[in-house]
């Protein structure tokens, strides 16, 4: 009886294991920087339709992903918000050589839920607000760009007491959408998302006020033998993928 039970248990374990393994065929695990998530949702849907593969997306900040990938996270493709971390991963042998490319160039906006608040840089100069939200300049490239723009406008020091920082752009937009911060710097792509499109007021920050936000993607060594991962990277670089990226307000190289 005991032996019998053991065999039943073992075969159950084996079945589950095989099922899990079988399901991972044609699947790709992707780490996506928060700013690119709205656009990537559309891309993933189109890609799944066209290829039959399925995409598992995790969103977060580039810095966190870099640390996780270094410590063995199972991501196969990484869409970063900068061009520094994918290069580091490639140099460290965690990214596949020659697969790194700039998939988008980010644009910074100053956005508010309030339709009449943001009119341009004069809104920042007037300072009629309690909280200005930015992504953490230390951890998020769009935060760095916001800091550069404020510094160039000569407002960085004066606005210190009003700054609140989100851990990444996703969190920063949470501060703004909940109204806890009246205005803040986001990626244009977030404001182009269906949820926020046409809402509130915005000022597109001129590109000369900050370093270009070059966003690179890289195939990770974990996904080197996964056809779905390669297919996804090809899809992003062909016309369909590029059209979606442009629609969300990114510039292309």
């Amino acid at each position: 009886m005991r032996k019998h039970l053991l065999i039943v248990c073992l075969s159950a374990v084996v079945t589950v294991f095989l099922a899990a393994h079988g399901a991972s065929a044609g699947q790709v695990q992707v780490a996506v920087a928060a700013n690119f998530v709205p656009a990537f949702k559309d891309i993933a849907a189109e890609f799944e339709k066209a290829s039959g593969h399925s995409v598992q997306t995790t969103s977060g900040s580039s810095g966190k992903f870099y640390a996780q990938i270094k410590n063995g996270a199972p991501f196969e493709v990484f869409f970063s918000a900068d061009d520094e971390r994918p290069k580091l991963l490639e140099d460290e042998g965690l990214g596949v050589k020659g697969t790194r490319f700039t998939y988008a160039i980010g644009r910074l906006v100053l956005w508010s839920q309030d339709a009449s608040l943001v009119t341009g840089e004069e809104t920042l100069k007037a300072g009629k607000f309690k909280h200005l939200a930015i992504a953490n300049p230390k951890t998020a490239p769009y935060g760095t760009a916001a800091m550069q723009a404020l510094t160039k406008l000569g407002l960085w020091d004066g606005l210190q007491s009003k700054l609140v920082m989100g851990e990444n752009l996703g969190q920063t937009s949470g501060f703004l959408e909940s109204g806890n911060a009246e205005l803040g710097f986001l990626a244009l792509s977030q404001v182009m998302d269906d949820k926020l499109k046409g809402k509130g007021s915005r000022w597109d920050v001129p590109a000369h006020l900050h370093e270009p936000i070059k966003q690179d993607a890289v195939l990770l060594t974990t996904g080197e033998k996964n056809p779905a991962a390669k297919a996804l990277l090809e899809f992003i670089q062909n016309e369909k993928g590029r059209a979606i990226i442009e629609r969300f307000g990114y510039a292309l190289k």
């Binding site: 640390a67 951890t139 920082m165 949470g174 909940s178 911060a181």
Partner: protein, 222 residues
Amino acid sequence: MLNDLDLSALWVTLRLAGMTVLVLLIVGTPIAWWLAHTRSRWRTVVEAVVALPIVLPPTVLGFYILVALGPYGPIGRLTGVTFAFTFWGLVVASAFYSMPFVVQPLHAAFEAIGRAPLEAAWSLRASPFDAFVTVASPMALRGYISGIVLGFAHTMGEFGVVLMVGGSIPGKTRVLSTTVFDHVEVMEYQQAHVLSAAMLIFSFLVLLGVYIVNRKFPIHVS
């Protein structure tokens, strides 16, 4: 070793933990007392509410503070009071988050004392408040020590709520746990190590202390 930002985060963390414990002693004592002595059928409901933070993810609390208690939430619309991005907002959140760690030891201590010593005090014409101050609270000392230490330590480790509603303002809402997180994000593993090790040793010593106190001073019930 530690830069100014780390030190200011340490200071904010200690202030937050201290304030939270103070608030919880004032709010938690009557709650624990009521739980220990009431015969109301609401008792189990209140007990469950007090214990909620043990099972509830802190991010849930953070989310409600951000959205339900934000300027567009009912309280925000009525009073204009919001909790995000302020030190006191974090204190309020932490008080909820650490409540069981203060209330439960107190509740257990008050229950262990029972009614007999209090009835003796009342028969000697002590007012209820007097009986509480001179008889019950010294007898519940162990419960107070456990509650203070555990509440303090638990608040030191708070992360989810602070990340959701803190806004990482140096000297106001930037705490140790989020600082460790930031260090890891930007590959400053050395500083992350130092802070993490300090937190680990501190937490261990705190718990060790609580267990030693618990062994040394068992509750005497005559």
